[in-house]
C-alpha cells in the first residue's frame, strides 16, 4: 500500500472498520488484507515463530471483530496494533507459564547462528533479535507498522521523545552489530 499516501490509506482503513462496526464481515476481511502483513511482521519480530505469530494475528482480528463497537471511528490501524500487542502479551504470558522450566526463547539467536547468517537481511534479523525487547519493538514499529511516532507512543504508552530515543538507540546498536 505504499503507492498511496498514508492519509488516504488511513481513511480507507477507518472506513472499512466503520463498515465492520455496522456488522459487515467483508469489510473486516478487506481490512485484514490491508493491515495483516504489517501486523504479522510486527508480531514475528517481537520474537514469535511463524505459527505463533499467525495464531496471534488471527486472535487479533477475532478480538477486533468482537469489540468493534468500541472503535472510536478513526485510527483503525493503531487500534489493531494495540489489540495485537495485547494478544501477544497474553500469548507470551501463557507461553511463559507453559515452559517455565528453563526453556530458552526460540527466537533468540545464538552467536554461532548470527555468524552463520551471511546475507544482509538475515544478519539484520539476527541483530534485531539481539536488541532489548522495548528497543526492538520501537525499531520494528518504526519500519513496518505504518504508524506515526505519536501513534507508536500511544501504543507503547510512553512519550514521543522516548519513542525517538528508543528507535535511535536501537538503530545505533543494529549498525554496530551488523558492522555495515
Amino acid at each position: 500500500m505504499e503507492d498511496i499516501s498514508s492519509e488516504a490509506r488511513a481513511k480507507l482503513e477507518d472506513s472499512l472498520m466503520r463498515g465492520a462496526v455496522a456488522g459487515d464481515s467483508e469489510a473486516m476481511e478487506e481490512l485484514y488484507s490491508l493491515t495483516a502483513s504489517s501486523l504479522f511482521s510486527y508480531l514475528r519480530r517481537l520474537g514469535n515463530q511463524r505459527a505463533d505469530a499467525d495464531d496471534i494475528l488471527q486472535t487479533t482480528f477475532l478480538n477486533a471483530w468482537r469489540s468493534r463497537t468500541r472503535f472510536r471511528g478513526t485510527g483503525a490501524r493503531a487500534w489493531l496494533f494495540t489489540i495485537a500487542r495485547n494478544a501477544f502479551l497474553t500469548h507470551a504470558g501463557k507461553r511463559a507459564r507453559d515452559t517455565a522450566e528453563n526453556s530458552p526463547s526460540p527466537a533468540l539467536a545464538t552467536p554461532s547462528e548470527a555468524m552463520a547468517a551471511t546475507d544482509l537481511s538475515r544478519r539484520i534479523e539476527f541483530a534485531l533479535r539481539g536488541l532489548p525487547d522495548e528497543t526492538r519493538e520501537a525499531v520494528v514499529l518504526s519500519r513496518v507498522s505504518g504508524l506515526s511516532i505519536e501513534e507508536i507512543a500511544g501504543l507503547l504508552q510512553t512519550s514521543k521523545g522516548n519513542v525517538r530515543v528508543r528507535i535511535h538507540r536501537g538503530l545505533t546498536r543494529l549498525k554496530e552489530d551488523i558492522e555495515l
Partner: protein
C-alpha cells in the same frame, strides 16, 4: 511529513549513509491468509465498494473543497440537501466532504442531524457528525443526548465517536 518520511528521517539521523540499506533490509513479511470466520455474511458486497469509493472520494474531492464558497446560497443549500438525501452512499459522502468548513444553513444542519439519526451507513453518520461538531451544532450534553435518543442505527458507535471527539477537543 508523511509517517514513512518521519521515520526515515530518524533512521537517517541514526544510521547516516547506511539508513536506506537497513530500511530496505527490514522487509515486511507476507501474512498468512485469514482463518477467522466473522459473523454471517451479508448478501451484497456494497460495503466494500462504499469503503473503497470513500477512500477514492476523499482524495478526489480535496480540490473541490478548496474552491467551495464558504457561505452557501439558499439555492445551493437546497441542492446540497437534495444531494444529502440521495439514495447513493457515494453521493452523500461526497457531498458531506464538500460541506467541511463551510458556513451551513439551518436546513443543511437539520439534514445532517437527520442523516445521523436515520442512516445505516456509519461512514455517512460519522462524516455528518464531524461537521456538526465542527460548527458547534452539538455543543452541550443535552443536545447530544437528544440526538442519541433518536439514532436508529449504530447508536453505540456514534456515542463512542462523540465521546472520543469531545474528550479530544
Amino acid at each position: 511529513m508523511t509517517d514513512a518520511k518521519q521515520h526515515l528521517s530518524i533512521w537517517r539521523d541514526a544510521l547516516e549513509d547506511q539508513a536506506d540499506t537497513l530500511w530496505n533490509g527490514v522487509q515486511e513479511e507476507v501474512a498468512p491468509p485469514l482463518r477467522a470466520s466473522f459473523a454471517a455474511r451479508r448478501d451484497s458486497t456494497a460495503w466494500r465498494w462504499v469503503a473503497i469509493a470513500a477512500g477514492i472520494a476523499v482524495v478526489a474531492v480535496a480540490n473541490w473543497n478548496l474552491s467551495l464558497h464558504r457561505e452557501l446560497s439558499a439555492t445551493r443549500s437546497l441542492y446540497l440537501v437534495a444531494m444529502l438525501q440521495a439514495d447513493s452512499s457515494i453521493t452523500r459522502l461526497t457531498t458531506l466532504h464538500r460541506l467541511g468548513g463551510a458556513k451551513l444553513s439551518s436546513s443543511i444542519v437539520d439534514e445532517l442531524m437527520a442523516l445521523i439519526k436515520t442512516s445505516e451507513d456509519p461512514n455517512i453518520q460519522l462524516a455528518a457528525l464531524d461537521i456538526l461538531l465542527e460548527i458547534g451544532a452539538l455543543d452541550g450534553a443535552e443536545r447530544i443526548d437528544a440526538l442519541l435518543k433518536e439514532v436508529r442505527q449504530n447508536r453505540q458507535f456514534i456515542e463512542t465517536a462523540i465521546r472520543a471527539r469531545t474528550i479530544r477537543t
